[in-house]
Symmetry: C2
Subunit: 579 residues, 2 copies
């Protein structure tokens, strides 16, 4: 090794020892005849001390070192006169006796500090320098710890990791595949997996009982903020289980991850039905860090000659505790927020609950004191609260109110990324009706089984059938989802039919899975967690890009290596491609 | 859970307990009024007992179950009268009181037994059934354990796993890339990584210090036996290290894996120079499970009027202990073996060392007793031994003798796949001269540094420069290799020049890495292990296909899912592809 210790290792007990450290010059401070340098490596920072009086030659040498130069230094550990309690090595410094310059460095295009002056594009281009910054490094270390924690849990539960192939078959159904031309089978293509779904089900047919994989998946979508063409999943499947078994096993996993990585106890993880989630939060991934559940005024607020309400299908409200403190100006800003085209509310009605119990609404012309007290009663409002009301088409207004609820919670500081609240959402509809194609789509995927008690409605009222499925949301973001699968060939055939597949299409796309099911498929179910999303939540960051070492931009480009790129003629010819 | 226990769990202590098991019907034995079934799951086999006298109805029910049916059974654990010591559950059986048929099964196209009657193609097509067989399952479980053991070791050594991207940039140099057309950047392509080489070096520039990843890699080669288009690597890199540090860290890893997975102590792992490996074994991945090192007769066997030797550049021999026991017929077969076109020897000379010490060669006409005793002396032969001799062009005859050595060792049972012997090979040549292109190629890759003591020959005699590189071989197979990297920009530029890259080509292909090296690159080095190969060796199997859950055939096809396949017009159009 070129070093005896790392830069995060030395303590007061080491004083007097001769040590050799390697690292990067982070910072320098000159005080007349003395200079202090911070030497950085992955493990921390150690102060190097130089003094003209004790060693003028080496002070000169040191002063020729610039930021980000790589050096190996030897010296004696001394107690610092000016200790730094914020640094694990803050009690000591090295009195340097020898400097060996390992490599020079150009001046970085942005500062390598926790708060940098570099814009996103330049940091993407020089990602290898951005990765040196503490916040970025800490998130990748957290990602590693999360991976380790997940594996420990699943290994202990007798799950085995099985690697499934990356070069598979394209299925036109669903999201767009990335494809890979086959040179040995000209005119044919592999696809990169969007998930190992069929393979993990085959492994259950093979009797592997408990499978997992932390695995890259690929989806060729039109990129939106916070979507990556390649992403990582914790992919799991179990045999001989029912829904509650899956919920209990994976609740345990997530609980352990938060304890290991954030020393955070998630507490009880409630199980909420899809209907309740929509009714109370207007979202199938509710943020449970705070209340403000929806209250319905439809019954009490109609028929008062207020046309907007009278024409609305649904009138929904939230009660904001202590919300009366919002100024008129703040309320106007909130109204503007919900009227933005992305949310699309026509307007927002509010009703202040004053400290003396009196009520003051923005629609006093239509609603008298008695009418408003009905609102307050439905919303269980207390003096000092604020009632916010939206109205309109049922499903639209729920979505709008969801946005409003999250926005107001944000204003009130209730969405602290260092607090975590998880929940399960269950009993999703099995099928979604698509007006455009005039047919049902699978809400999860075509292998999701109906709830046993709803199976009899598959013929009579398929839209009403609930899925034996479950999603996990944390802080309002979906982190995982799965289902108990169909393992019976007849039921699977019926599903394909409902989804508008002809027998040929089903056979063409899923033939091998359907075949496999004829040879003794066990009851099974599984779940997949978005590993990038989970790490982002654990890191308290909004963007999955922040937890990916080498992310792509919104056009799917890697700005650092400049990919994708054109191929040369020879490569194209070999692949039988003409462009 | 649909079961109270697994099929590998019950013991004599459980007798009297009511249990519920799930699994597949493996086998059935009828004895008059009694029937016994073996119920199988991943964890083992449990015997189910049915008796007409105690429960005729359920016996009837049971007898309707065929092989590979999936059932849930409930019953009472009883002591077996006829115990099976080969089975962990062999002391007990279940007196079944209830059968719930979970799924029927067609008769499998081959038997699901340790020794199956299915040919390779049918087993590939029905891979999900082949995966049920014990030998296949055990190898995948071993693969999981190997993965786990590797991670435990590297995690404990402060390595962190960082995921590098799969959609990267194509480099025309080296092996052929699989490419992925980019829909959002028409006419441009990503490439799938052949290894994360440049990314792991960038991570060192970023200060990550100790990186690893167990990662899929892709190479579009003309398939040979035991090559797969996608394969898995244990990919590692360290900063501030020298060769011996890497050797010591990864020797520790391999040692732990063999202990954990096979309870096998690898013993001392010798470090052999490339020159010695070639001289003694004619191979840079010598099989050290046995001796038979090469002996050179060039000096003593020339000039005896035996034209074949006189014209040969090199005359090389091995001494086969107790080899005099080979019959004439066996020796003829060995001669035929080395004369096969794949090996291409013109012939083989032998010399028997009789028990009485007399010598009898196949070329007695040319070599008298005295001449032959010189052979025996060079080869340190003992009575009862056999000397085998090949001659010809130096590098060709070494390769042939390597094959002969391995073949004879095989015949003598010295290549037991349950014995393991590892070694390091170091001091490879840095460059290989390619006659066709009249230029040097990098023996490892262009980032491999020369041995410090040889660096001064880079200008004067580049062919003589040795690489600061190391390979690990186990039982004659290469399992890993790596090098200390060049981290100095000038040296890297010199290397590219030696390899015939123009400045533009180097910049075009490796520009981002070269740039990164200008911002403070630390000394670093790394290694990659072939994970499939390592698992194959640990499993005692010759083929990496045996340790891959869903392998492809020699044409790169997955026979089960029938990939690659043609795309539909819509998909091709979206990608701007015309075929």
């Amino acid at each position: 090794m070129l070093r005896s210790h790392t830069c995060g290792e030395l303590r007061i007990e080491d004083q007097g020892t001769e040590v050799t450290l390697c690292g990067w010059i982070q910072r320098r401070r000159d005080f007349g005849s003395m200079s202090f340098f911070d030497l950085r490596d992955r493990y921390g920072i150690t102060q190097l001390a130089f003094n003209e009086e004790t060693n003028a030659v080496i002070l000169d040498e040191a002063r020729s070192l610039a930021r980000e130069f790589v050096v190996q230094i030897t010296g004696i550990v001394r107690e610092r006169s000016n200790k730094n309690p914020n640094l694990s090595t803050g009690d000591v410094e090295i009195e340097v006796t020898r400097i060996h310059l390992l490599n020079r460095a150009l001046t970085p295009p942005f500062t390598i500090e926790d708060e940098t002056d570099g814009g996103e594009e330049i940091r993407m281009k020089y990602r290898y320098l951005d990765l040196r910054r503490n916040p970025v490094k800490n998130r990748l270390v957290l990602r590693h710890q999360t991976n380790k924690s997940v594996r420990e849990y699943l290994n202990a539960k007798e799950f085995i990791e099985v690697e499934t192939p990356y070069l598979i078959k394209s299925t036109p159904e669903g999201a767009r595949d990335f494809v890979v031309p086959s040179r040995l089978n000209e005119g044919q293509y592999y696809a990169l997996p969007q998930s190992p779904q069929t393979f993990k089900q085959l492994l259950m047919v093979s009797g592997y009982d408990r499978y997992y994989q932390i695995v890259k998946c690929f989806r060729d979508e039109d990129f939106r903020a916070d979507r990556q063409p390649e992403f990582t999943q914790i992919d799991c499947e179990m045999s001989f289980v029912e829904r509650d078994d899956i919920i209990s096993v994976f609740e345990g996993m997530i609980r352990k991850v938060f304890l290991d990585v954030r020393q955070y106890d998630l507490g009880e993880i409630p199980v909420i039905s899809y209907d309740d989630a929509m009714r109370l939060y207007g979202s199938d991934k509710p943020d449970l860090r705070f209340g403000m559940t929806f209250c319905y005024l439809t019954d009490v607020a109609k028929g008062k000659d207020f046309a907007i309400f009278d024409q609305a299908e649904t009138i929904v409200a939230i009660n904001v505790t202590d919300g009366n403190a919002f100024t008129r100006k703040e309320l106007d800003a909130i109204t503007d927020y919900v009227k933005r085209p992305q949310i699309g509310a026509k307007g927002m009605i509010y009703c202040r609950v004053n400290e003396d119990g009196s009520l003051k609404s923005s629609v006093d012309k239509f609603f008298d004191r008695e009418a408003l007290s009905q609102w307050a009663s439905v919303c269980a409002s207390q003096p000092g609260d604020l009632i916010l009301v939206l109205s309109g088409d049922h499903s639209t207004v729920l979505k709008q109110m969801n946005e409003l609820r999250l926005h107001v919670a944000g204003l009130k500081g209730l969405r602290n990324p260092e607090n975590f609240k998880a929940c399960w959402v269950v009993d999703f509809p099995l099928l979604e009706w698509d007006e455009e194609s005039k047919r049902f789509h699978a809400m999860h995927h075509p292998f999701t089984s109906p709830l046993p008690e709803d199976e009899n409605m598959l013929d009579s009222d398929p839209g009403k059938v609930r899925a034996n499925a479950y999603d996990m949301a944390i802080n309002g973001m979906e982190v995982g989802g799965g289902s108990i699968r169909i393992y019976n060939k007849e039921l699977q055939a019926k599903m394909f039919k409902l989804l508008g597949f002809t027998d040929e299409e089903a056979k063409e796309q899923f033939g091998f899975l359907m075949n496999a099911f004829e040879y003794g498929a066990p009851p099974h179910g599984g779940i997949a967690f978005g590993f990038d999303r989970l790490c982002a939540i654990l890191s308290g960051t909004d963007s999955i890009r922040d937890v990916i070492a080498f992310p792509k931009n919104n056009m799917g480009r890697d700005l650092m290596i400049d990919a994708p790129s054109v191929l040369n003629k020879h490569q194209l010819n070999e692949l039988g491609l003409s462009n």
